[in-house]
């Protein structure tokens, strides 16, 4: 695979949020404002790039049997670093993201890329994969955040877009709005994929793309139709 393909794979073709539908929790939870979405995306991207590089460097050293705990240690180490840096330099964003910053540890995108890409590829390619997937995730979160902020409070990055005489759709800022906007965005992406002659990934079937796929496969419960669903 060429370097350029690896980089753009995560942004468009295998966008983790909108095509593979991974990392749904932060996508729904922090995107009440465009700035929060962007911040969360960048924080996750930083962790993803670092963990991809570290795991790729050590891919021949980490024993196969304990690889998942090893990956988790690396990932949570980087999450702690990113959290401390954010607390020091962007405290407002740190407070806004709150719990979800710690939960980057269990973001399936990061563990998934460690398992599926970084453990099998060179350091440089793993870094590119991290950058590509990170940008894809950031763009998706920025899009979600923008739509919800503009519709829900009439502003974008704090700037007033819709005049205050039109009352905003407040529910877009609340939990139901998150689910709704995410569902519509995935439908839009599916339509685009189909228009271009592809077939959208049907996540409702099969274990592919699930972060726990390898754990389940090892336990013998994964299948084409989905072991647990």
């Amino acid at each position: 695979m060429k370097s350029k393909d690896i980089l753009f794979n995560g942004i468009l073709k295998e966008n983790p949020t909108l095509v593979l539908i991974l990392g749904t929790c932060p996508t729904l939870a922090v995107t009440t404002q465009a700035s929060n979405g962007l911040g969360m995306g960048l924080a996750t991207m930083a962790v993803l790039i670092c963990s991809n590089i570290a795991i790729s460097l050590l891919r021949n050293i980490i024993p196969d049997k304990v690889r998942i705990p090893c990956y988790i240690v690396f990932i949570s180490g980087f999450v702690i670093i990113v959290g401390l840096v954010m607390e020091a330099f962007v405290p407002s964003l740190y407070d806004a993201l709150g719990l979800y910053l710690d939960l980057i540890v269990v973001n399936c995108i990061i563990l998934g890329r460690a398992e599926m890409f970084a453990s099998k590829n060179t350091v440089f390619h793993s870094m590119l994969d991290g950058i590509g997937m990170g940008i894809g995730f950031t763009l998706a979160l920025l899009m979600m955040g923008s739509i919800r902020e503009i519709l829900g409070s009439g502003t974008w990055f704090g700037l007033t877009i819709i005049p205050s005489s039109i009352s905003p759709i407040a529910i877009m800022m609340l939990a139901p709005g998150g689910f709704f906007v995410y569902g519509c965005l995935i439908a839009l992406v599916n339509t685009i994929i189909r228009k271009r002659g592809g077939t959208p990934v049907d996540k409702s079937n099969g274990c592919m793309g699930c972060a726990s796929f390898d754990a389940c496969r090892a336990a013998g419960t994964a299948s084409e139709k989905g072991g647990c669903c």
Partner: protein
């Protein structure tokens, strides 16, 4: 007496008002993935309650007596490792001693390690400065809320599967929009705990 009222209010708050999945967005992956069939939804829900209680019972003392205050920044790293090890231990224990239970819950256990509800709840217990018993009640309430959301949503999804849906919305999009409507229904509970018990959480 006062404590009982507080615990009841806390349970109602965590199960209905700020439901873990529908209001706090924790554990969305299993919520969307495992809620296709009622029995698997129940299995996953029960496994999550079990692991949540265990994880809280183990991580709370670790944080309070070992990590705080010198190593508080290691919280995330220690908690996720403890949860991962705990899930493995439970799996081994069940397979060896309670094979019947292992058969019904075993396949969900590896998934729970990466379930953000578990890590989220253990961190929340510390952030909210709950004591040990309150933490356990909180974890139980969150677990029951998760089970309730899974079971309700399994019912909703069985209806979706039988209806004609525009091609682009088939699969995940319509599932998310249905989740949005269920979540909207749960918003109707807001304020119920304060209204009934007269205390705010």
């Amino acid at each position: 007496m006062n404590n009982t009222v507080f615990f009841l209010a806390l349970l109602m708050e965590t199960i209905l008002v700020s439901n873990v999945v529908l209001a706090q967005f924790l554990g969305i992956c299993p919520f969307l993935g495992v809620s296709r069939k009622l029995d698997s939804a129940i299995g996953m829900g029960v496994a999550v309650i079990f692991v949540l209680l265990l994880a809280t019972a183990v991580t709370w003392p670790i944080y309070t007596y070992l990590l705080y205050p010198k190593f508080a920044y290691l919280q995330t790293l220690v908690f996720i490792l403890v949860i991962a090890a705990l899930v493995q231990l439970v799996e081994i224990f069940l397979a060896r001693f309670v094979p019947a239970l292992y058969k019904s819950l075993g396949i969900y256990l590896p998934l729970i390690t990466t379930n953000c509800a578990v890590l989220g709840v253990t961190i929340n217990c510390i952030d909210f400065e709950y004591n040990f018993v309150t933490s356990l009640v909180y974890a139980f309430g969150i677990g029951v809320g998760f089970l309730l959301a899974m079971v309700l949503f399994a019912g909703v999804r069985s209806r979706i599967d039988e209806s004609g849906i525009p091609q682009s919305f088939r699969g995940m999009p319509i599932t998310l929009i249905a989740a949005s409507i269920v979540s909207m229904a749960f918003m109707g509970f807001s304020g119920i705990a304060t209204g009934i018990f007269g205390i705010s959480i």
